[in-house]
């Protein structure tokens, strides 16, 4: 079997609700999407979901005519090719997109769902709810987490960072909403690199006087291994980080210096192949990993086969308008079906409609870094969020 061609489609989608973190509290409604399909001489294709980038034409010659089942070798071939620039930027994005599509293809060729091809015993992955909720009113916040609790999810992650008192109130709302799924919901928070390490210590320690936090995510900059370690040493919660780094190489300094307690793994870590490398590094150091959210939860297939996976982020903001997928959430788990590969296919009619009539809405991904980050908190302005904050 040989790789013969590809198809690359981009589109814009409007979410069911805005998403935000403390860097851009008002949030965004629009999200760019992309779909890479890799074609073979046997009329079987592999699919990959992403959100931009491009550059496939420059790397495709490296895999053209190759056997798609040799996905790990092809991953290494591309990595060696981009050696000088490294697994960075557009090249890393394209590497990941190709790798994901090749794993889809490999599982489809084997006639198995990817979770089984990767060796998982069950197609089930524990889920945690993550509202990307800085822009949600207290009522909408409750509604989101209660909806998650209704499908059995007993853990939640709140976006925090600009207003301690309000964040304390809102984590209580999240806890209440999840309390129908568990008497003691697992509570985590995410500051998206807005704080300096010591700001994080002050903020988290005050929250910990009232709440038992399982982890605090990105309390300092992604590469600041000494700052992250400082936070880890001074708070009770675990430090989670890594969603915005590029590959296992970027985790080296973090893991070697005990700067991270939970690794946030993602498709962005140079595809399925790279993501599994990160998880294996973590396993060697007895560290747990947590899979980042993605469209149609497709990375749950990878998470299902990881020995140290503790829970996958579920956001569910409505990113599947042009996708059909074979999984659902039940009893707090993402339950994967038995369709081959990722079990995802494209609704061509819906895709064509999105491309012909791009939706309109407020703000676009990604969320830029807020002023004051790492130095001092720039307080919320009136009207910046729909909930009550301390300066009101």
């Amino acid at each position: 079997m040989k790789i013969t061609g590809y198809r690359y489609e981009t589109y814009m989608m409007k979410l069911d609700r805005p998403i935000a973190d403390c860097n851009l509290p008002e949030g965004v409604e629009l999200l760019p999407g992309s779909i890479l399909t890799i074609e073979t001489d046997e009329n079987i294709t592999g699919l990959s979901l992403g959100f931009g980038g491009g550059g496939i034409e420059s790397l495709f010659p490296l895999i053209e005519g190759e056997d798609p089942r040799e996905v790990t070798r092809l991953w290494m071939k591309i990595v060696d090719h981009i050696h000088k620039g490294g697994n960075e930027g557009a090249a890393n994005y394209t590497l990941g997109a190709i790798d994901i599509a090749l794993w889809d293809l490999k599982a489809k060729i084997a006639g198995q769902p990817l979770w089984r091809l990767l060796g998982a015993a069950h197609g089930r992955v524990k889920a945690y709810a993550s509202g990307l909720d800085y822009c949600l009113s207290d009522e909408d916040l409750f509604t989101f987490y209660r909806r998650m609790a209704d499908v059995g999810i007993d853990a939640g992650k709140l976006k925090v960072g600009l207003d301690l008192k309000a964040d304390m109130r809102r984590i209580g709302i999240m806890q209440d909403a999840l309390s129908t799924a568990s008497k003691k919901p697992v509570l985590t928070i995410d500051a998206n690199e807005y704080w300096s390490p010591k700001q994080a210590v002050r903020y988290v320690r005050q929250m910990e006087e009232k709440f038992d936090l399982a982890w605090v995510e990105e309390p300092a900059r992604r590469w600041d291994y000494r700052g992250l370690r400082l936070v880890s040493q001074q708070v009770s919660a675990a430090v989670a980080t890594g969603e915005n780094v590029n590959s296992v190489a970027d985790f080296y300094a973090l893991v070697a210096n005990q700067a991270v307690d939970v690794l946030n793994v993602a498709a962005g870590h140079s595809g399925v192949t790279g993501c599994r490398q990160v998880a294996n590094l973590a396993q060697a150091y007895s560290l747990p990993v947590s899979m980042m959210n993605c469209q149609a939860n497709f990375m749950a297939h990878v998470a299902a086969a990881l020995p140290n996976h503790i829970g996958m982020e579920v956001v569910d903001p409505g990113r599947e308008q042009c996708l059909k997928f074979d999984n659902h959430i039940e009893d707090g788990y993402i339950v994967l079906g038995n369709e081959p590969g990722f079990g995802i296919s494209v609704d061509e009619v819906a895709l064509a409609e999105l491309q012909a009539n791009p939706p309109k809405g407020r703000g676009t991904f990604p969320l830029s870094r807020r002023a004051g980050a790492g130095r001092y908190i720039v307080p919320l302005r009136p009207g910046e969020v729909p909930w009550r904050h301390s300066s009101e």
């Binding site: 207003d163 002050r202 790492g374 130095r375």
Partner: protein, 354 residues
């Protein structure tokens, strides 16, 4: 025995070529004279230090002199030379920006600075009530720093007053304290932890004796607040152990030691270590210009009294807690020679050092 005279005489040594030296002579009432040879550029400092610390003293009490001179160097920075370099650097930047008809912030490549400002209270200079009046006044600052003393209850009360004075401007005040280097690390940890049970402290400075970076690190590891350090360090190299040993979480830079050029170098190094930078108060608040180009700028200390209250006038103004520079070329600082106060300008004879 008492020291009765100090002289420092520049000389040329014909045997050693054109280089000049400086003969230092200490004369005593017993008719004795002690001599030493110094570098010529040190002459003004030798005379100043000698007059302050040696004249009238018993020359046999040398240990006391060394100790007091050391304290003076600690509080005034390493040496007069370092300060001279910094001041000349500032004046040269002022000149360079004026030659380009640009305010300094633009000459440095920045946008108009809008710098997070805080007010500080130094025990000796101002009574506490007028400090609080400044805090709740028109600056609009969201932060304040107290020089704290040895009485924990008084420190607590004053912090509480400061917090209340900041309330009109913010619900999350930036409270900072300067312990003045009087504590041993464990004293610092006990005292600061006690304060932290009641106050959210943004940073604490002076937590260990000057130069004790390991003590500072130890304190930082044991409290919530950031440890701020650097205000008494006067060379880039002196910061290296502090960076390397994570002895400070906020880097304080004083233009008094670093001028403009050195301050920017140091700020880049701090940025590389992911450390926020705060700027010590400078005459005319001209340090606001540096905020425009420092990548991890956190805050500036405001110099009292405000512009217009002395012979130093400045374009820098404060609005809702932000320091804002003006458009006048250079630093925007002017000196009013006819200031109708008790300031008198004493003409000093020009001194050439060659």
């Amino acid at each position: 025995m008492k020291i009765t005279g100090i002289t420092a005489t520049l000389f040329r040594d014909s045997l050693l070529g054109p280089a000049r030296g400086c003969l230092v002579e200490l004369t005593a009432d017993a008719g004795l004279c002690g001599i030493a040879i110094a570098s010529p550029w040190a002459r003004p400092a030798i005379l100043a230090l000698g007059k302050d610390l040696l004249l009238g003293e018993d020359p046999r009490s040398i240990a006391g002199f060394w100790q007091r001179a050391g304290q003076l160097m600690t509080s005034h920075g390493d040496a007069a030379l370092g300060h001279a370099r910094a001041v000349l650097d500032v004046a040269a930047w002022d000149l360079k920006a004026k030659a380009q008809s640009e305010p300094l912030w633009k000459a440095l490549g920045g946008g108009r600075p809008r710098a997070n400002a805080y007010l500080s209270w130094l025990d000796a200079d101002e009574d506490f009530a007028s400090f609080l009046a400044r805090v709740s006044g028109s600056y609009g600052t969201r932060g304040g720093k107290l020089s704290i003393g040895s009485d924990p209850e008084l420190n607590r009360q004053r912090l509480d007053f400061l917090r209340r004075a900041l309330e009109p401007h913010t619900h999350e005040p930036q409270l900072m304290i300067d312990a003045g280097g009087r504590w041993r690390p464990k004293d610092a940890i006990r005292q600061i932890r006690a304060l932290e049970s009641e106050f959210d402290l943004t940073w604490v400075q002076g937590v260990s004796e000057c130069g004790d970076f390991l003590g500072s690190r130890r304190v930082s590891d044991s409290i919530r607040a950031a440890v701020c350090a650097g205000g008494d360090l006067s060379s880039l190299n002196a910061f290296l152990p502090w960076f390397h040993h994570q002895a400070a979480n906020v880097i304080e830079i004083d233009m008094h030691h670093f001028g403009v050029t050195g301050a920017l170098q140091l700020a880049d190094a701090a940025f590389g270590y992911e450390l926020p930078v705060t700027l010590t108060a400078a005459p005319g608040n001209i340090h606001v210009h540096l905020a425009a180009v420092m990548p991890s700028f956190m805050s500036m200390e405001v110099t009292p009294p405000e512009s217009g209250d002395g012979p130093v006038n400045s374009e820098v103004r404060f609005e809702s807690g932000w320091g804002i520079a003006g458009d006048a070329p250079g630093t925007g600082m002017t000196f009013n020679r006819k200031f109708p106060g008790n300031v008198t300008l004493e003409p000093v004879k020009d001194m050439k050092m060659t």
